[in-house]
Amino acid sequence: MIVRKGTAAMTAGGIAMVVAVFVMTLAIAQGFRQTLVVSGSPQNAIVLRKSATAETVSAVLRSDVPIVEALPQVARGPDGRPLSSSELVVIIALPRQSDNQPANVPARGVGPKAFEVRDNLKVVDGRRFAPGTREINVGKAAVGRFKGLTLGSTVKFGSATWNVVGIFTADDAAFESEVWGDVDLMMPAFQRDGYQSMTVKLADPSMFESFNATVTGDPRLYLEAQREQDYYAEQSRALTTVIRVFGTFVTLILAIGAVFGAMNTMYAAVAYRTREIGTLRALGFSGSRIVAAFLAESMALALVGGVLGCLLALPVHGMSTGTTNFSSFSEVAFKFRITPALLAGGLIFSVVMGAVGGLLPAIRAARIPVARALREI
């Protein structure tokens, strides 16, 4: 009996591990996706070169900017100027605070209206950079992760030295992992001549279709527009897919082990209770009832493991981590996101493992000839 308790605990533990891994990997995928999805606003459109899949492989000519900004669908600020930010994204290498190894950090040169276009951005420490100066703002998620990215310090990249004058948040969006400065100063610092993208605030979200039609239809432009939300969702796809596939693979391998563990425990339970099974059969319980009883036991045991696994995984919720975003090859910080649906999925998964592991032992239990079962001591 003590031995049986041991194997039962091990089985539950094994299933707990699987469920924890399952929930955590999906929480990563979920969190990463969330980070990129909130980066987009429904009212914003991002303009890229035709068929460019990311800002890094796009180009917007200086001469394109006034044409796009003049379009009637673009919202205007109180000063009558278009709410649009022409931007350049360059990848800079900065040593990580943790291991001093260089990592890719996206630096975004933005226009003077950038903070009006991205209205989820808030400077929480210091102030906005002043246009025309070598001042920069740093996203909260990048602060402390890389050397030099703290308020008041200076950092060298491109052919210049920059002063960090403010820290901003962006509702966990990918921007929080970026460094922002004046695009007109970043361009020469990186020997560029031209932008990569334009992000515009539309007067109304419903105007996107006509805005895009106008941009793509204009013979002077070789550009197209995407809803900012669609763009960032697409950016997250490659990595979330990889995380999901990898997570599924690891989970599956662990699950096979856990199922065999459950099977072992249940075979032991059947052997241990052979006489009990015989007794129940002698009282008139049918074979299918015996199968159901052992399946229920196996599933209950697995569910205990599942609950344990969820509890194990739960503390990582909200914990932040960083990864290289495949579509920009730079570091994006994001938080693990464990949703109720994810936990429910983990629990269902544990019960399924219990059912699969318990099935064969349960069938064996029902197949033992009653007379023989009763002879067991």
Binding site: R275, E276, G278, T279, L280, R281, A282, L283, G284, F285, S286, G287, S288, P369, V370, A371, L374, I377
Partner: protein, 229 residues
Amino acid sequence: MALIDLRDVTKSYRRDQIEIPVLDGVTITVDGGDFLGLMGPSGSGKSTLLNLLAGIDRPTRGSIRIGEVEISRLSERALAGWRARHIGFIFQLYNLIPVLTAFENVELPLLLTSLSKKQRRDHVMTALGIVGLGDREKHYPRQLSGGQEQRVAIARAIVTDPTLLLADEPTGDLDAKSAGEVLTLLQRLNQEFKKTIVMVTHDPHAAERAARLLHLEKGTLVEQVKVGA
């Protein structure tokens, strides 16, 4: 018509290609309300015979009719249902489920019926009352003496009011005093409640309580002694 009609029943087991004959052409009839004792040396096939009567095992040849039903023709599933309604089985080692209380153990066979919770409770308490353990419903088997455990097992066997009580050495593991109590109980079930009982036993004292005695020797009925009932 006799309640049990066992006709020319043969049973053999196969072990490593060798046929082990256990019962060889046994014919027995038992009337309703009988208390039949079944004696014989170890390995003579007493338990096997009892299992055949309970539909737990199947004869190699021959027919077994109990009441209106030819049980050797029933499917496994039908047999289980039939057993639940007609058979009360009492084991030498009581076979109570250790994690269930006396009440829950006795209630087990009723879970196969359509009785309500309240009706089940009434039945269980009646059965426990008959065996004199109405105050032990919340006890677990390990908190009971052997004699008490066997009485709980008897309550479990009678709670569905079965046609036939089958007991396989019900006193085999008990001291003389407890054995006496259990036998008195069985006798009372036979005489007062008109239960038909077939009891296997090694113990001559136990055998004395039966109204009728059969001897099984090497798979055949060799002797039939009527004891004065």
